[in-house]
């Protein structure tokens, strides 16, 4: 478990924030692509403007947890909180190694409710089948 108390300003936690947002956004993009839907279609479903959906999918987004849940519900994505192993930090900031798997503290994961095929969270094993990830966790 990450020692949160001793790390009020901490790169791991800042990256954790970014990863959580980005993983959610990538899950949304995957769901849209799978359903052959556009961002405009999502805005219609949500009852918001296309610009608002674009903002939600941008780096500056900070959607409320309830809005995230609403989008996930509409796109058949189930968010889950999953315990992870302690972060291995040695090489994770290396640009070439930035996509090697790493984990930190608690992460949020989501799976497609119908297929259970994808997971999103702090991990880069985003495309790993959910069942495979559960085996690793066990």
């Amino acid at each position: 478990m990450v020692d949160f108390k001793s790390k009020s300003f901490n790169r791991e936690l800042i990256e954790f924030e970014e990863d959580t947002l980005i993983d959610f956004q990538f899950a949304v993009m995957d769901a849209l692509n799978q359903a052959d839907m556009s961002q405009k279609d999502l805005s219609d479903l949500l009852g918001v403007s296309k610009a608002r959906v674009s903002q939600i999918l941008s780096s500056t987004a900070n959607p409320s947890i309830k809005l995230v849940a609403r989008i996930c519900g509409l796109l058949n994505i189930k968010p889950e909180f999953v315990e992870c192993d302690l972060l291995e930090v040695e090489n994770r900031n290396n640009f070439e190694d930035a996509f090697d798997g790493f984990e930190a503290g608690w992460s949020i994961a989501a799976k497609r409710m119908d297929t259970c095929q994808s997971v999103w969270g702090i991990n880069d094993n985003y495309a790993e089948p959910y069942e495979e990830r559960q085996k690793v966790s066990a």
Partner: protein, 131 residues
Amino acid sequence: MSGAFGDVICIGEALSELDKLREKAERNEDTTSIRHERTITRYLGRYAEVGPTGLGTSMYKPQTRISVGHNDTVFIYEFKSYQFRLYGAETSIGGRRTFLATACNPSKKKDKADPAILQKAAKVFQEYLNG
């Protein structure tokens, strides 16, 4: 960086600015550079793995077609991580689909891309491909 979809290669200003950002993020001096670096790294990795369809238009945005002379044009795209922007174009290198990042605006202030940077991105791209 390589992935299932293709490669992302950074050269020139794009590479030097990305290196600067990484160094700044590693110094842990401010949250902004850490956020910018993490986000752009994830976007580039996503492009390499999934391709442009895996990114929203607020992450990876088509900009404009730039003439580079002799009937040649280059279509410039922009990766958008907060105010840090990378510019380049799609091509094929060694039989692999490739995004070649050639220019950068590390602290973009206006929403509209600077035409001079787009022009530079296209010029460097063309020069690189022509050897």
